[in-house]
């Protein structure tokens, strides 16, 4: 349970948001050229990090916009919030 500072709305309770999982997984540019291993990697394999993880969140009960969060999954502390399309910060 924690607070999230939505880049569009400000600080709100986490229950207003939904996590979209690991960030920066790019959709394959040429899907037809992927083999099964590459598809599995893209669709299913996740880092599932204990520590600082970059992830996507959606303010689903607010502005409904997506953004990125760098969060420590071992203590739920948010290190950095940045917008979609931006590069992950160096932490």
């Amino acid at each position: 349970m924690f607070l999230i500072n939505c880049p569009y709305c400000g600080v709100r309770d986490q229950s207003e948001f939904v996590s979209g999982g690991e960030a920066h997984i790019a959709r394959p540019k040429q899907p037809t050229e992927l083999n099964d291993d590459q598809w599995a990697e893209y669709l299913f394999m996740r880092k599932n990090i204990k520590g600082i993880q970059f992830e996507r969140w959606n303010h689903v009960h607010g502005c409904r916009k997506w953004f990125n969060v760098a969060r420590d999954t071992s203590n739920d502390k948010i290190e950095k919030i940045y917008k979609m399309g931006e590069q992950p910060p160096k932490i």
Binding site: M1, Q14, S19, E41, F44, M45, R46, N48, K50, D76
Partner: protein, 417 residues
Amino acid sequence: MKNKYSIFSLIKNAFSNHENWQRAWRDPEPKKEYDAVIVGGGGHGLATAYYLAKKHNLTNIAVVEKGWIGGGNTGRNTTIIRSNYLWDASAGLYDHALKIWEGLSQELNYNVMFSQRGVMNLAHNLQDVRDLKRRTHANRLNGIDAVWLETDEVKKFCPIINTSQDIRYPVLGGTLQKRAGTARHDAVAWGYARGADEMGVDIIQNCEVKGIKRNGDTVEGLETSKGFIKTKKIGIVAAGHSSVIANMAGLKLPLESKPLQALVSEPVKPIIDTVVMSNAVHAYVSQSDKGELVIGAGTDSYISYTQKGSFNIVEETLKAILELYPIFSRMKMLRQWGGIVDICPDASPIISKTSIKGLYFNCGWGTGGFKATPGSGDLFAHTIANDEPHKLNAAFNINRFVSGDLVDEHGAAAVAH
């Protein structure tokens, strides 16, 4: 040789004020080398060690556990056991476990308090009715006992449920598996630990794995907080921390680790003599032998290793519980806790070899691993000993995420994953 637990040993020890009970398991220092090492001293890990020793004569083995045995999800679940899963592969897996549960106390000479009080799954909308009826038929085709109950039969089976059709999510019926029930979760870990220890398995607590040593595509041993342990076979049964260990070996798993919460009430006199689960409103409840209501809540939407979980999740569950059981409206909740569950995209487990020789994973049990403890241990032991899966866990290999042959049990889970 362990002394047998019986009414006579109980009486005998009463005369010495229960101060001279034999130790249930040793507290050894790790040896330099083992034939196999199991990482994770929960129910599944200890069961794996037990069956490796018992069925496959591998006794020069160890279980390493970073905390104390049974202190993770084995001690944090809501102890529900059932096998009414939809697909053939899952039915085979979970019913294999249920059959072992039925004789487990005798086999281990340890009372795991397995109680076949029945598990009832409620339907609250037309889609639930269709899904649960389909599941009932599928179960019966697989030889698993399951019956469909109409609303009045639900009321008869568990009279405290509010079956009024005026509530927000009215009860439209339900399924019942009578062979299902509950067991004492700690006793399962302790019983397997005692049994494994008796056959020579070293159970090493407070021993955290720091790294996995590989020589090319073969494992050579484990770096631990108690030094290096050489071994050719490593079975990882680390539940929520599976991805962390996989990372040490340079592997990625299709898992997300999330907090799942449960809570218990103050103890009261017997009021509910079965287990009732409800998918649509996400509430399930049973009563422990101590009299506490044992209530399962949902998972958080985000990855976390904090073993806490959010308050709004508990709130949702309790709202649903109160609507379904108005009689509980004045009960006080005593304790709440979280466990970290490793969830697969298809909500089915992985019991599998990997691309690294000698490295095996038993993970991805998500929100419902406790029920499978004996079967999981048995099949994982088979997989490790033979370097090949048993036919019952062949479908639960890690390659299914490449081949696309998933075992999608999202719909058949009693509560939403």
